[in-house]
Subunit: 157 residues, 2 copies
């Protein structure tokens, strides 16, 4: 793995990449946005080694992007929820997704981001294509697109 | 390094991360947006091992994000320029930067993204805060912010 810090880089892009500039980390964050909360669900969805997943979840908690909340007492069990800082990553994820849709989705978008209020699709400026509203993480929802896999979405109720 | 592909992930975020989900790669792309074009300039700015830089530049060319153009004949020398596909990464970079500004820039933003026409700052929806115009890569310019290091910008004329 790369070193986590780039001390010679006074740059907010470099700082952001220290926290989330790892592909597994971004896929964990993506899953959290899709409603995945539990270790076993992340593990199954990502097909990731358990020690790698534990490491990435631990870093995301340390960095204040996810928080660990108990959901069961005996035995004690925890789930992972996006914090405000984590929710603020929504534009990064949507921008990555829109770029992937444009250049690497020959069968159409696997996932659509919709404006929760009116069902309109969200454009690359996070604006609703139907009503023109500015959309953010809390007013958006992800739904299967034309090229969605059969198992989409993994853990969304 | 992680494997480059996530075949079980039908997802545009995963596809995008295959191309750019490596921190050095994103820093190379950031430098390209700041006007860096030549191997030696990338190398000096990033303080990156030459073989790693050559690998990342080669992948970015293979993926159609950068193109390699001759700028001198004897001896033959090349520079690297963002393609249309590369320029389309602008929202990803700006979103990463805005997130880093918010959560990891206690002394203020090292870099500002301005609307070239009116000098207004660009917000997290890529809109000019002064005139309200939708801004994109070609109508934006990067300038040192309040927390800019003395050597900023590296290679911008």
């Amino acid at each position: 793995m790369l070193p986590r810090t780039y001390d010679n880089q006074v740059c907010s892009v470099a700082r952001a990449l220290e926290a989330i500039g790892d592909r597994w980390t971004m896929l964990v964050v993506r899953d959290a946005f899709l409603g995945v909360r539990r270790f076993e669900d992340f593990q199954r969805d990502l097909d990731i080694a358990r020690n790698v997943l534990a490491d990435r979840l631990g870093r995301l908690v340390d960095d204040g992007i996810l928080e660990r909340r108990p959901y069961q007492e005996k035995p004690e069990r925890f789930e992972y929820r996006l914090t405000e800082k984590g929710l603020s990553l929504w534009p990064v994820l949507v921008s990555l997704m829109k770029w992937g849709d444009r250049y690497a989705a020959p069968n159409g978008p696997p996932t659509l981001i919709l404006h929760r209020d009116c069902g309109g699709e969200v454009d690359e400026r996070f604006r609703c294509k139907v009503c023109g509203a500015d959309v953010e993480a809390r007013t958006a929802e992800a739904r299967p697109g034309p090229a969605a896999p059969r198992r989409w979405p993994t853990a969304v109720p």
